[in-house]
């Protein structure tokens, strides 16, 4: 056991494991690229949806349950399904990651919108504000902390799951996990897993700090 951790340490700090197309630096960049793009796509779908159902109060039950369906789908199964239908590309990976990320974004956006005090909305309407003005000038700013939390959750989940790109031959940190398992190189498996965890935690810390700084002036 001790030997394993010693080798893991060596692997993580040696220059040769960081360089080249199979090096940690390159794999890390790939992993971040997959994760950020998938989260962006998910946000493009989830944010408008969450804002719409939150603002109108209509279709919330359907939208939330439909999007949560994505969370229940087995990720690897979804990857193979889309692969068999569409062939070998990053599409299956993005479909699976987006399906995973959308629910967190939709539900948190909706929760943030419904948490806005109805009296505030009433007051805005009483001042003669239109629907879209209420949405963007009153509801959205007030709901922003929860919306940010949803995005953060989605990104963390996606980072932890983006390892599946390696299952269909692509890169990212999952490469170490899948290759290591197949070649019984436990140091590689463990190294990949540790790196994924570190990236997830680091991004979470970064985003929550950012969130705190952005909304500092609004501290209750």
């Amino acid at each position: 056991m001790f030997e394993l951790f010693k080798n893991l340490g060596k692997w993580l700090v040696s220059g040769s494991s960081w360089s080249g197309s199979d090096g940690i630096a390159h794999r890390l960049a790939e992993h971040l690229q997959y994760s950020l793009l998938a989260t962006l796509i998910a946000a493009a779908i989830g944010l408008p949806l969450g804002l719409l159902i939150g603002h109108t109060g209509k279709g919330a039950f359907l939208a939330i349950n439909l999007s949560s369906f994505g969370r229940a789908l087995p990720t690897v199964g979804l990857v193979v399904l889309v692969f068999l239908a569409g062939g070998l590309s990053m599409l299956p990976v993005y479909v699976a990651l987006v399906a995973l990320a959308v629910p967190a974004i939709v539900t948190n956006t909706y929760a943030g919108m419904t948490a806005v005090d109805p009296d505030v909305k009433d007051a805005a309407r009483g001042q003669g504000m239109r629907g879209h003005q209420i949405l963007f000038q009153v509801e959205l700013p007030l709901a922003l902390p929860l919306i940010m939390t949803g995005l953060r959750l989605a990104l963390i989940q996606v980072v932890a799951t983006a390892t599946i790109a390696a299952y269909v031959s692509f890169g990212g940190l999952g490469r170490y996990v899948f290759d290591g398992l197949a070649q019984r190189d436990l140091v590689q498996v463990l190294g990949g897993a540790v790196l994924v965890a570190v990236v997830a935690v680091a991004l979470d810390l970064l985003l929550s700090t950012l969130q705190r700084l952005l909304f500092r002036h609004r501290a209750a």
């Binding site: 031959s169 290759d179 070649q183």
Partner: protein
Amino acid sequence: MNRRTLLGGLFAAASVPALAACSSGITSLDGSGTTSGGGSGSSKGGVTIGTANFTENQVLGYLYAAVLQQAGVKVKVRPNLGTREIVIPALKGGDIDLLPEYQGALLNYLAPKDNSSEPGTMQNALTLAMPSGLQVLPYGQAADSDCFVVTRATARKYGLTTLADLAKQNGKLVIGAAPEVKKRRVGAIGLKDVYGVEFKEFKSLDSDGPLVKGALKKGDVDVANLFTTDTDIAANDWVVLTDPKNLIPSQHIVPLIADRKADDTVRKALAKLGNVLTTEQLTQLNSQVDNDKKDPEDVANAYAKQHGLA
């Protein structure tokens, strides 16, 4: 398609029905230098059979189970354990006792420098290379080699018939195979050393499963590493590239067993199966699982019954 390779989902080993034995008329194969030592072990306490993570190995595991059960040995099957890099340590560690193996792949795992490719010499080499506590039993007549296939269209486009032809297209072709093939001699390393082949890209997919075959079908990879007993090769009119320099060693099926369980009962039962089962029959059995979606255990039991092993 090999549905069972998906991330090693273990499926429960059900009990194997009792089968009745009957001797086969086929003469025994060359068993020179097959095993060392006598029947020092005992199968009294039961034998745990492990299998690797692809269809055929599971079928073989259940065939072993059927003939052993018939010989009065208590068996337990633990299917779909993983690649050789995982199952052999499990065998050494005592988690499993018996494993269907392949001569060439096993020899390459145990003695990577040994490049013999003829069945008899390989069996001798295997016996020498065997770690303490393990032994190989005589090999059967069925064999399942690795092979590299291209689609008919690719073969025509680049004039490919042998592995050597691949070198004329260096830097152009993409190969799809399981991740471990990247570092195996019967894979990227051997193709480079023996034939001077360099691929444009190595795509890590699965071991003769839906990913690698799907990628070949759709043209996402040009060359795929499959097994010769895969019925999809003929069904899709794929071209198996020949191996004039004998890079790919003979892959007769051999039982790899722990000394502690290797007694005469087990030896006789497995030898009988080895003498009956042919490559063509094994290909058929694989197809029943992959294409007809039958359960590997049912397929194995039906075969054992039909061929007088039950």
